[in-house]
Protein backbone atom coordinates (compact mmCIF):
# COMPACT_ATOMS: atom_id res chain seq x y z
CA UNK A 1 0.00 0.00 0.00
CA UNK A 2 1.47 3.30 -1.07
CA UNK A 3 1.42 6.28 1.23
CA UNK A 4 -1.32 7.89 -0.86
CA UNK A 5 -3.62 5.01 0.11
CA UNK A 6 -3.11 5.73 3.79
CA UNK A 7 -5.42 8.17 5.54
CA UNK A 8 -4.68 11.89 5.38
CA UNK A 9 -2.46 12.97 8.26
CA UNK A 10 -3.98 15.32 10.81
CA UNK A 11 -2.47 18.73 11.48
CA UNK A 12 -1.59 19.21 15.12
CA UNK A 13 -2.21 22.32 17.16
CA UNK A 14 -0.89 23.29 20.57
CA UNK A 15 -4.39 22.59 21.87
CA UNK A 16 -4.39 18.98 20.62
CA UNK A 17 -0.77 17.77 20.88
CA UNK A 18 -1.57 15.55 23.88
CA UNK A 19 -4.28 13.71 21.89
CA UNK A 20 -1.92 12.85 19.02
CA UNK A 21 0.95 11.91 21.32
CA UNK A 22 -1.35 9.51 23.18
CA UNK A 23 -2.62 8.04 19.89
CA UNK A 24 0.97 7.22 18.97
CA UNK A 25 1.13 5.29 22.27
CA UNK A 26 -2.10 3.41 21.52
CA UNK A 27 -4.25 5.43 23.90
CA UNK A 28 -7.48 7.29 23.04
CA UNK A 29 -7.94 10.55 24.91
CA UNK A 30 -11.09 12.57 25.41
CA UNK A 31 -11.73 15.90 27.01
CA UNK A 32 -13.86 16.11 30.14
CA UNK A 33 -15.83 19.16 31.22
CA UNK A 34 -15.64 19.46 35.03
CA UNK A 35 -18.75 21.66 35.17
CA UNK A 36 -20.98 19.00 33.64
CA UNK A 37 -18.86 15.85 34.14
CA UNK A 38 -19.37 15.10 30.43
CA UNK A 39 -16.71 13.75 28.10
CA UNK A 40 -16.54 15.37 24.67
CA UNK A 41 -14.79 15.23 21.30
CA UNK A 42 -13.12 16.74 19.26
CA UNK A 43 -10.89 18.03 22.03
CA UNK A 44 -10.48 21.72 22.80
CA UNK A 45 -9.69 23.73 25.88
CA UNK A 46 -13.07 25.45 26.08
CA UNK A 47 -16.03 23.33 27.18
CA UNK A 48 -18.85 23.30 24.62
CA UNK A 49 -21.27 22.91 27.55
CA UNK A 50 -20.17 25.71 29.88
CA UNK A 51 -17.94 27.89 27.72
CA UNK A 52 -15.18 27.74 30.35
CA UNK A 53 -11.52 26.92 29.46
CA UNK A 54 -11.22 24.47 32.33
CA UNK A 55 -11.39 21.11 30.54
CA UNK A 56 -9.09 18.20 31.35
CA UNK A 57 -7.81 15.17 29.46
CA UNK A 58 -9.12 11.71 30.34
CA UNK A 59 -8.19 8.37 28.87
CA UNK A 60 -11.10 6.64 27.15
CA UNK A 61 -11.83 2.96 27.64
CA UNK A 62 -11.49 2.53 23.89
CA UNK A 63 -14.84 0.76 23.66
CA UNK A 64 -18.22 1.73 22.32
CA UNK A 65 -21.08 0.85 19.99
CA UNK A 66 -21.77 1.60 16.34
CA UNK A 67 -24.12 4.61 16.12
CA UNK A 68 -24.27 4.76 12.31
CA UNK A 69 -22.20 3.98 9.23
CA UNK A 70 -22.08 4.18 5.46
CA UNK A 71 -20.11 2.01 3.06
CA UNK A 72 -18.84 3.40 -0.24
CA UNK A 73 -16.21 2.30 -2.70
CA UNK A 74 -12.99 4.30 -2.46
CA UNK A 75 -10.18 3.37 -4.82
CA UNK A 76 -11.87 0.03 -5.58
CA UNK A 77 -12.08 -0.92 -1.90
CA UNK A 78 -15.07 -0.65 0.45
CA UNK A 79 -14.67 2.17 2.95
CA UNK A 80 -16.92 2.22 6.02
CA UNK A 81 -17.19 5.62 7.65
CA UNK A 82 -18.75 5.40 11.11
CA UNK A 83 -20.09 7.37 14.03
CA UNK A 84 -19.04 5.47 17.17
CA UNK A 85 -20.70 6.13 20.51
CA UNK A 86 -17.97 5.69 23.08
CA UNK A 87 -18.61 4.13 26.48
CA UNK A 88 -17.99 7.62 27.90
CA UNK A 89 -21.05 8.91 25.93
CA UNK A 90 -19.53 11.06 23.21
CA UNK A 91 -20.06 10.10 19.55
CA UNK A 92 -16.91 10.37 17.43
CA UNK A 93 -16.38 10.16 13.69
CA UNK A 94 -14.09 7.32 12.62
CA UNK A 95 -14.08 4.35 10.24
CA UNK A 96 -14.40 0.60 10.68
CA UNK A 97 -11.57 -1.81 9.89
CA UNK A 98 -11.41 -5.62 9.94
CA UNK A 99 -15.17 -6.19 9.87
CA UNK A 100 -16.98 -9.21 8.39
CA UNK A 101 -19.12 -9.01 5.24
CA UNK A 102 -22.24 -9.60 7.39
CA UNK A 103 -21.31 -6.53 9.38
CA UNK A 104 -21.53 -3.69 10.24
CA UNK A 105 -24.63 -3.61 12.43
CA UNK A 106 -25.75 -0.50 14.29
CA UNK A 107 -25.51 -1.13 18.04
CA UNK A 108 -22.75 -3.71 17.78
CA UNK A 109 -19.86 -3.54 20.24
CA UNK A 110 -16.62 -2.01 18.97
CA UNK A 111 -13.11 -1.45 20.25
CA UNK A 112 -10.44 0.99 19.19
CA UNK A 113 -7.44 -0.01 17.07
CA UNK A 114 -4.73 2.36 15.91
CA UNK A 115 -3.55 2.60 12.29
CA UNK A 116 -0.97 4.89 10.68
CA UNK A 117 -1.71 7.90 8.51
CA UNK A 118 0.53 9.03 5.65
CA UNK A 119 3.18 10.66 7.84
CA UNK A 120 3.13 7.87 10.45
CA UNK A 121 0.86 9.64 12.94
CA UNK A 122 -1.39 6.94 14.43
CA UNK A 123 -5.17 7.39 14.18
CA UNK A 124 -7.97 5.67 16.12
CA UNK A 125 -10.16 3.32 14.05
CA UNK A 126 -12.71 0.82 15.32
CA UNK A 127 -13.26 -2.89 14.84
CA UNK A 128 -16.05 -5.22 16.02
CA UNK A 129 -15.50 -7.01 19.34
CA UNK A 130 -15.52 -10.69 18.47
Amino acid sequence: MSDANLPLSPQRTAETDAYWDAANEGRLLLKRCPGTDKAFHPPRDFSPFTGRPDTEWIEAEGTGTLYSYSVSMVGGEPHCIAYVQLTEGSIILSALVDYAPSEPRIGQALKVVFRPSRDGQMLPFFTPVS
Binding site: C33, P42, S68, S72, A95
Partner: protein, 392 residues
Protein backbone atom coordinates in the same frame (compact mmCIF):
# COMPACT_ATOMS: atom_id res chain seq x y z
CA UNK B 1 -43.19 40.09 10.36
CA UNK B 2 -46.50 40.24 8.46
CA UNK B 3 -46.67 43.07 5.92
CA UNK B 4 -43.19 44.33 6.71
CA UNK B 5 -42.03 43.38 3.24
CA UNK B 6 -43.21 41.71 0.04
CA UNK B 7 -41.52 39.44 -2.48
CA UNK B 8 -42.27 41.05 -5.86
CA UNK B 9 -39.67 39.44 -8.09
CA UNK B 10 -38.55 35.85 -8.53
CA UNK B 11 -36.47 34.26 -11.23
CA UNK B 12 -34.78 30.92 -11.83
CA UNK B 13 -32.17 30.74 -14.57
CA UNK B 14 -33.29 28.26 -17.25
CA UNK B 15 -29.79 26.88 -17.81
CA UNK B 16 -28.43 23.78 -16.15
CA UNK B 17 -25.10 24.02 -18.03
CA UNK B 18 -23.34 27.37 -17.72
CA UNK B 19 -19.98 26.55 -19.25
CA UNK B 20 -20.22 29.70 -21.39
CA UNK B 21 -21.45 31.98 -18.63
CA UNK B 22 -18.89 33.28 -16.12
CA UNK B 23 -20.07 33.28 -12.52
CA UNK B 24 -20.42 37.04 -12.11
CA UNK B 25 -22.51 37.23 -15.29
CA UNK B 26 -24.70 34.41 -13.99
CA UNK B 27 -25.44 36.48 -10.89
CA UNK B 28 -26.16 39.52 -13.07
CA UNK B 29 -28.49 37.50 -15.31
CA UNK B 30 -30.57 36.17 -12.42
CA UNK B 31 -30.67 39.65 -10.89
CA UNK B 32 -31.94 41.08 -14.18
CA UNK B 33 -34.53 38.32 -14.41
CA UNK B 34 -35.93 38.91 -10.94
CA UNK B 35 -35.95 42.70 -11.35
CA UNK B 36 -37.75 42.41 -14.71
CA UNK B 37 -40.30 40.13 -13.06
CA UNK B 38 -40.82 42.80 -10.39
CA UNK B 39 -41.01 45.69 -12.86
CA UNK B 40 -37.91 47.29 -11.37
CA UNK B 41 -34.36 47.95 -12.59
CA UNK B 42 -30.91 47.53 -11.11
CA UNK B 43 -30.92 51.27 -10.31
CA UNK B 44 -33.79 50.72 -7.85
CA UNK B 45 -31.79 48.28 -5.70
CA UNK B 46 -30.46 49.75 -2.45
CA UNK B 47 -29.97 46.54 -0.48
CA UNK B 48 -28.04 43.46 -1.61
CA UNK B 49 -27.99 40.06 0.05
CA UNK B 50 -25.46 37.44 -0.97
CA UNK B 51 -23.66 34.41 0.42
CA UNK B 52 -20.39 32.66 -0.34
CA UNK B 53 -21.33 31.70 -3.88
CA UNK B 54 -20.89 35.24 -5.20
CA UNK B 55 -18.04 35.82 -7.59
CA UNK B 56 -14.83 36.71 -5.84
CA UNK B 57 -15.85 35.41 -2.40
CA UNK B 58 -13.06 32.84 -2.21
CA UNK B 59 -10.60 34.81 -4.31
CA UNK B 60 -7.98 37.12 -2.91
CA UNK B 61 -9.23 40.66 -2.75
CA UNK B 62 -12.45 42.27 -1.80
CA UNK B 63 -14.95 39.42 -1.57
CA UNK B 64 -18.57 40.42 -2.14
CA UNK B 65 -17.61 43.92 -3.26
CA UNK B 66 -16.53 42.36 -6.56
CA UNK B 67 -20.06 41.30 -7.50
CA UNK B 68 -21.49 44.60 -6.26
CA UNK B 69 -19.07 46.36 -8.61
CA UNK B 70 -19.85 44.03 -11.55
CA UNK B 71 -23.56 44.77 -11.27
CA UNK B 72 -22.97 48.47 -10.57
CA UNK B 73 -25.10 48.46 -7.46
CA UNK B 74 -25.50 51.66 -5.47
CA UNK B 75 -26.13 50.33 -1.97
CA UNK B 76 -27.25 51.54 1.41
CA UNK B 77 -27.30 48.02 2.85
CA UNK B 78 -25.24 44.83 2.38
CA UNK B 79 -25.79 41.49 4.12
CA UNK B 80 -23.34 38.68 3.35
CA UNK B 81 -24.65 36.16 5.86
CA UNK B 82 -23.28 32.80 4.78
CA UNK B 83 -25.02 29.65 5.88
CA UNK B 84 -24.49 27.63 2.69
CA UNK B 85 -27.70 26.56 0.98
CA UNK B 86 -29.89 27.81 3.79
CA UNK B 87 -28.50 31.35 3.34
CA UNK B 88 -31.06 32.59 0.80
CA UNK B 89 -34.03 31.56 2.94
CA UNK B 90 -32.34 33.37 5.79
CA UNK B 91 -31.76 36.37 3.52
CA UNK B 92 -35.49 36.83 2.91
CA UNK B 93 -36.02 37.15 6.66
CA UNK B 94 -33.04 39.50 6.94
CA UNK B 95 -34.32 41.58 4.02
CA UNK B 96 -37.73 41.93 5.66
CA UNK B 97 -36.04 43.09 8.88
CA UNK B 98 -33.81 45.55 7.03
CA UNK B 99 -36.78 46.98 5.12
CA UNK B 100 -38.84 47.27 8.31
CA UNK B 101 -35.97 49.15 9.96
CA UNK B 102 -35.64 51.51 6.99
CA UNK B 103 -32.18 50.24 6.06
CA UNK B 104 -33.26 49.62 2.46
CA UNK B 105 -36.42 49.66 0.31
CA UNK B 106 -35.54 47.34 -2.57
CA UNK B 107 -33.58 44.23 -1.58
CA UNK B 108 -31.96 41.97 -4.17
CA UNK B 109 -30.92 38.40 -3.29
CA UNK B 110 -28.89 36.40 -5.82
CA UNK B 111 -27.56 32.86 -5.91
CA UNK B 112 -25.55 31.16 -8.65
CA UNK B 113 -23.00 28.45 -9.20
CA UNK B 114 -21.46 26.31 -11.93
CA UNK B 115 -20.17 23.01 -10.53
CA UNK B 116 -20.75 21.23 -13.86
CA UNK B 117 -18.71 23.81 -15.77
CA UNK B 118 -15.99 23.64 -13.14
CA UNK B 119 -16.19 19.83 -13.05
CA UNK B 120 -16.25 19.75 -9.28
CA UNK B 121 -17.87 16.68 -7.76
CA UNK B 122 -19.62 17.44 -4.51
CA UNK B 123 -20.06 13.72 -3.88
CA UNK B 124 -16.33 13.37 -3.49
CA UNK B 125 -15.79 16.73 -1.86
CA UNK B 126 -15.62 17.24 1.85
CA UNK B 127 -17.08 20.41 3.22
CA UNK B 128 -13.95 21.64 4.96
CA UNK B 129 -11.11 22.39 2.60
CA UNK B 130 -7.91 22.49 4.62
CA UNK B 131 -7.53 21.75 8.29
CA UNK B 132 -7.89 25.14 9.91
CA UNK B 133 -11.31 24.23 11.30
CA UNK B 134 -10.83 22.81 14.79
CA UNK B 135 -12.65 19.57 13.97
CA UNK B 136 -10.96 18.94 10.61
CA UNK B 137 -7.91 16.97 11.89
CA UNK B 138 -10.31 14.66 13.74
CA UNK B 139 -12.61 14.06 10.76
CA UNK B 140 -10.88 14.44 7.39
CA UNK B 141 -8.56 11.42 7.81
CA UNK B 142 -11.67 9.19 7.85
CA UNK B 143 -12.90 10.33 4.44
CA UNK B 144 -16.17 12.15 5.16
CA UNK B 145 -17.76 13.31 1.90
CA UNK B 146 -21.23 14.55 1.13
CA UNK B 147 -22.66 11.17 0.14
CA UNK B 148 -21.45 9.07 3.06
CA UNK B 149 -22.36 11.71 5.63
CA UNK B 150 -25.97 11.69 4.36
CA UNK B 151 -25.77 7.90 4.09
CA UNK B 152 -25.19 7.71 7.84
CA UNK B 153 -28.38 9.69 8.46
CA UNK B 154 -30.38 7.28 6.30
CA UNK B 155 -28.78 4.24 7.92
CA UNK B 156 -29.67 5.45 11.41
CA UNK B 157 -33.24 6.30 10.34
CA UNK B 158 -33.68 2.78 8.98
CA UNK B 159 -32.28 1.33 12.23
CA UNK B 160 -34.43 3.40 14.57
CA UNK B 161 -37.66 3.46 12.59
CA UNK B 162 -37.60 0.59 10.11
CA UNK B 163 -37.66 2.99 7.17
CA UNK B 164 -37.12 1.15 3.87
CA UNK B 165 -35.18 2.04 0.71
CA UNK B 166 -38.51 1.81 -1.14
CA UNK B 167 -40.06 4.47 1.10
CA UNK B 168 -37.08 6.78 0.49
CA UNK B 169 -37.39 6.08 -3.24
CA UNK B 170 -40.93 7.53 -3.25
CA UNK B 171 -39.40 10.96 -2.62
CA UNK B 172 -37.49 10.69 -5.90
CA UNK B 173 -40.54 9.28 -7.66
CA UNK B 174 -42.62 12.29 -6.53
CA UNK B 175 -39.91 14.70 -7.72
CA UNK B 176 -39.83 13.00 -11.12
CA UNK B 177 -43.63 13.21 -11.46
CA UNK B 178 -43.31 16.97 -10.97
CA UNK B 179 -40.21 17.35 -13.15
CA UNK B 180 -41.95 15.89 -16.22
CA UNK B 181 -43.90 19.17 -16.43
CA UNK B 182 -40.81 21.40 -16.06
CA UNK B 183 -39.21 22.09 -19.48
CA UNK B 184 -35.95 23.11 -17.78
CA UNK B 185 -35.67 20.07 -15.50
CA UNK B 186 -32.38 18.22 -15.80
CA UNK B 187 -34.08 14.83 -15.26
CA UNK B 188 -37.60 15.14 -16.72
CA UNK B 189 -38.26 11.40 -17.01
CA UNK B 190 -40.66 9.76 -14.57
CA UNK B 191 -38.94 7.07 -12.53
CA UNK B 192 -40.32 4.21 -10.45
CA UNK B 193 -39.48 2.94 -7.00
CA UNK B 194 -37.77 0.00 -8.67
CA UNK B 195 -35.65 2.34 -10.81
CA UNK B 196 -34.37 4.02 -7.64
CA UNK B 197 -33.63 0.94 -5.55
CA UNK B 198 -31.93 -0.88 -8.44
CA UNK B 199 -29.65 2.06 -9.27
CA UNK B 200 -26.08 1.64 -7.99
CA UNK B 201 -25.38 2.21 -4.30
CA UNK B 202 -23.14 5.27 -3.95
CA UNK B 203 -22.91 5.35 -0.14
CA UNK B 204 -25.02 2.79 1.66
CA UNK B 205 -27.93 2.83 1.96
CA UNK B 206 -28.24 5.62 -0.62
CA UNK B 207 -28.48 4.84 -4.34
CA UNK B 208 -27.51 6.99 -7.26
CA UNK B 209 -31.15 8.02 -7.73
CA UNK B 210 -31.44 9.02 -4.07
CA UNK B 211 -29.09 11.90 -4.94
CA UNK B 212 -29.87 15.30 -6.41
CA UNK B 213 -28.56 16.52 -9.75
CA UNK B 214 -25.34 18.48 -10.18
CA UNK B 215 -26.29 21.57 -12.16
CA UNK B 216 -25.17 25.07 -13.09
CA UNK B 217 -27.49 28.02 -12.79
CA UNK B 218 -29.04 30.12 -10.09
CA UNK B 219 -31.89 32.34 -9.11
CA UNK B 220 -32.80 35.65 -7.55
CA UNK B 221 -35.50 37.34 -5.51
CA UNK B 222 -36.55 40.96 -5.06
CA UNK B 223 -38.03 41.91 -1.68
CA UNK B 224 -39.49 45.41 -1.27
CA UNK B 225 -41.30 47.71 1.12
CA UNK B 226 -45.09 47.11 1.02
CA UNK B 227 -45.65 50.62 -0.41
CA UNK B 228 -43.51 49.75 -3.42
CA UNK B 229 -45.32 46.43 -3.86
CA UNK B 230 -48.63 48.27 -4.05
CA UNK B 231 -47.25 50.68 -6.67
CA UNK B 232 -46.01 47.75 -8.73
CA UNK B 233 -49.38 46.02 -8.53
CA UNK B 234 -47.72 42.69 -7.80
CA UNK B 235 -49.33 39.93 -5.75
CA UNK B 236 -48.24 40.52 -2.15
CA UNK B 237 -46.21 37.49 -1.14
CA UNK B 238 -45.13 38.20 2.42
CA UNK B 239 -42.97 36.44 4.97
CA UNK B 240 -45.21 35.55 7.89
CA UNK B 241 -42.73 33.66 10.05
CA UNK B 242 -39.06 32.78 9.98
CA UNK B 243 -36.65 30.71 11.99
CA UNK B 244 -32.94 30.01 11.86
CA UNK B 245 -30.45 28.02 13.84
CA UNK B 246 -27.11 26.26 13.58
CA UNK B 247 -27.02 22.57 14.48
CA UNK B 248 -23.60 21.36 15.59
CA UNK B 249 -22.05 18.28 17.08
CA UNK B 250 -22.21 19.47 20.69
CA UNK B 251 -19.00 17.68 21.67
CA UNK B 252 -20.34 14.40 20.31
CA UNK B 253 -23.63 14.52 22.24
CA UNK B 254 -26.16 14.74 19.41
CA UNK B 255 -29.09 13.02 17.70
CA UNK B 256 -28.30 12.61 14.00
CA UNK B 257 -32.04 12.48 13.19
CA UNK B 258 -32.79 15.83 14.86
CA UNK B 259 -31.64 18.49 12.41
CA UNK B 260 -31.72 22.23 12.90
CA UNK B 261 -35.22 22.07 11.43
CA UNK B 262 -36.57 21.12 14.84
CA UNK B 263 -35.69 24.59 16.12
CA UNK B 264 -35.95 26.74 12.99
CA UNK B 265 -39.28 25.16 12.09
CA UNK B 266 -40.80 25.64 15.54
CA UNK B 267 -39.67 29.26 15.56
CA UNK B 268 -41.15 29.96 12.13
CA UNK B 269 -44.49 28.32 12.95
CA UNK B 270 -44.68 30.20 16.28
CA UNK B 271 -44.04 33.54 14.63
CA UNK B 272 -46.52 32.82 11.85
CA UNK B 273 -49.16 31.56 14.29
CA UNK B 274 -49.94 28.56 12.08
CA UNK B 275 -49.33 24.81 12.23
CA UNK B 276 -48.03 22.31 9.69
CA UNK B 277 -51.64 21.34 8.93
CA UNK B 278 -52.23 24.87 7.57
CA UNK B 279 -49.44 24.62 4.97
CA UNK B 280 -50.75 24.10 1.41
CA UNK B 281 -47.38 23.66 -0.31
CA UNK B 282 -43.84 22.99 0.94
CA UNK B 283 -40.45 23.54 -0.66
CA UNK B 284 -38.11 21.31 1.31
CA UNK B 285 -34.42 20.98 0.56
CA UNK B 286 -33.72 17.73 -1.23
CA UNK B 287 -30.02 17.17 -1.65
CA UNK B 288 -30.89 13.51 -1.08
CA UNK B 289 -34.16 11.68 -0.50
CA UNK B 290 -33.27 11.26 3.18
CA UNK B 291 -32.93 15.04 3.53
CA UNK B 292 -36.64 15.47 2.78
CA UNK B 293 -37.71 12.60 5.04
CA UNK B 294 -35.88 13.92 8.10
CA UNK B 295 -37.01 17.51 7.50
CA UNK B 296 -40.68 16.50 7.20
CA UNK B 297 -40.45 14.89 10.63
CA UNK B 298 -38.37 17.68 12.16
CA UNK B 299 -40.78 20.36 10.91
CA UNK B 300 -43.75 18.51 12.39
CA UNK B 301 -45.52 17.42 9.20
CA UNK B 302 -45.48 13.93 10.69
CA UNK B 303 -44.28 12.31 13.90
CA UNK B 304 -40.65 11.19 14.28
CA UNK B 305 -40.31 7.83 12.55
CA UNK B 306 -43.47 8.29 10.46
CA UNK B 307 -41.68 9.91 7.52
CA UNK B 308 -41.41 6.69 5.53
CA UNK B 309 -45.16 6.12 5.60
CA UNK B 310 -45.84 9.84 5.01
CA UNK B 311 -43.91 9.95 1.72
CA UNK B 312 -44.86 6.50 0.39
CA UNK B 313 -47.50 5.89 -2.30
CA UNK B 314 -47.21 9.38 -3.75
CA UNK B 315 -47.58 11.25 -0.46
CA UNK B 316 -45.64 14.23 -1.82
CA UNK B 317 -47.12 14.33 -5.36
CA UNK B 318 -49.27 17.37 -6.13
CA UNK B 319 -52.91 16.38 -6.56
CA UNK B 320 -52.24 12.92 -5.17
CA UNK B 321 -50.63 13.14 -1.74
CA UNK B 322 -51.37 14.95 1.46
CA UNK B 323 -48.53 17.49 1.09
CA UNK B 324 -47.31 18.69 -2.34
CA UNK B 325 -43.52 19.12 -2.08
CA UNK B 326 -41.03 20.58 -4.60
CA UNK B 327 -43.43 20.84 -7.52
CA UNK B 328 -40.68 22.04 -9.87
CA UNK B 329 -38.97 18.66 -9.59
CA UNK B 330 -36.68 19.93 -6.84
CA UNK B 331 -33.00 19.34 -6.55
CA UNK B 332 -33.59 15.64 -7.05
CA UNK B 333 -34.75 16.09 -10.66
CA UNK B 334 -34.68 19.73 -11.77
CA UNK B 335 -31.92 21.96 -10.43
CA UNK B 336 -29.33 22.24 -7.65
CA UNK B 337 -27.27 25.21 -8.85
CA UNK B 338 -23.92 25.61 -7.19
CA UNK B 339 -24.62 22.60 -4.97
CA UNK B 340 -26.98 24.80 -2.98
CA UNK B 341 -30.70 24.44 -2.56
CA UNK B 342 -32.29 27.47 -0.92
CA UNK B 343 -32.96 29.78 -3.84
CA UNK B 344 -34.76 27.33 -6.12
CA UNK B 345 -36.91 26.37 -3.15
CA UNK B 346 -37.97 30.00 -2.67
CA UNK B 347 -38.70 30.56 -6.36
CA UNK B 348 -41.06 27.57 -6.66
CA UNK B 349 -42.90 28.63 -3.48
CA UNK B 350 -43.44 32.09 -5.01
CA UNK B 351 -44.75 30.47 -8.21
CA UNK B 352 -47.19 28.39 -6.18
CA UNK B 353 -48.41 31.35 -4.11
CA UNK B 354 -48.92 33.43 -7.26
CA UNK B 355 -50.71 30.58 -8.99
CA UNK B 356 -47.98 30.55 -11.63
CA UNK B 357 -46.73 26.98 -11.19
CA UNK B 358 -47.31 24.53 -14.05
CA UNK B 359 -51.05 23.78 -14.20
CA UNK B 360 -50.36 20.07 -13.74
CA UNK B 361 -48.72 20.71 -10.35
CA UNK B 362 -50.35 23.98 -9.21
CA UNK B 363 -51.91 23.65 -5.75
CA UNK B 364 -55.48 25.07 -5.89
CA UNK B 365 -55.82 28.35 -3.98
CA UNK B 366 -52.32 28.10 -2.56
CA UNK B 367 -52.31 30.78 0.12
CA UNK B 368 -49.72 29.54 2.63
CA UNK B 369 -46.39 27.88 1.82
CA UNK B 370 -43.35 26.75 3.73
CA UNK B 371 -39.77 26.97 2.51
CA UNK B 372 -37.10 25.08 4.40
CA UNK B 373 -33.48 24.32 3.84
CA UNK B 374 -30.30 23.22 5.48
CA UNK B 375 -26.82 24.27 4.45
CA UNK B 376 -23.78 22.20 5.28
CA UNK B 377 -24.39 18.56 6.12
CA UNK B 378 -27.48 17.01 7.64
CA UNK B 379 -25.44 14.37 9.48
CA UNK B 380 -23.01 16.93 10.87
CA UNK B 381 -22.97 20.70 11.40
CA UNK B 382 -25.36 22.80 9.33
CA UNK B 383 -27.36 26.00 9.15
CA UNK B 384 -31.13 25.57 9.07
CA UNK B 385 -33.63 28.15 7.83
CA UNK B 386 -37.42 27.96 7.71
CA UNK B 387 -39.71 30.56 6.17
CA UNK B 388 -43.50 30.65 6.02
CA UNK B 389 -44.83 32.70 3.14
CA UNK B 390 -48.38 33.92 2.63
CA UNK B 391 -50.30 35.44 -0.23
CA UNK B 392 -52.12 38.27 1.48
Amino acid sequence: MTQKACIVGAYEHPTRDARDIPLARLHAEVAAGALADAGLTIADVDGYFCAGDVAGWDAPGVGPFSIVEYMGLNLRHLDTTESWGSAYINHVAHAAQAIAEGKCRVALITQAGRPRAERSSPAQMHRNQGQSAHEAPFELPYGPVVTNMYGMVAQRHMYEHGTTPEQLAWIKVAASHHAQHNPNAMLPKVVTVEDVVTSPVVASPLHRLDCCVISDGGGALVVVHPDIARELGKPAITPRGAGFTVKHMNGGHFDILASGGVKSGAEAFAEAGVTPADIRYASIYDSFTITVLVQLENLGFCAPGEGGRFVAEGGLISGVGRLPVNTDGGGLCSNHPGNRGGMTKLVEAVRQLRGEAHPAVQVPDCSLALVHGTGGQLGARHGSATLILERA
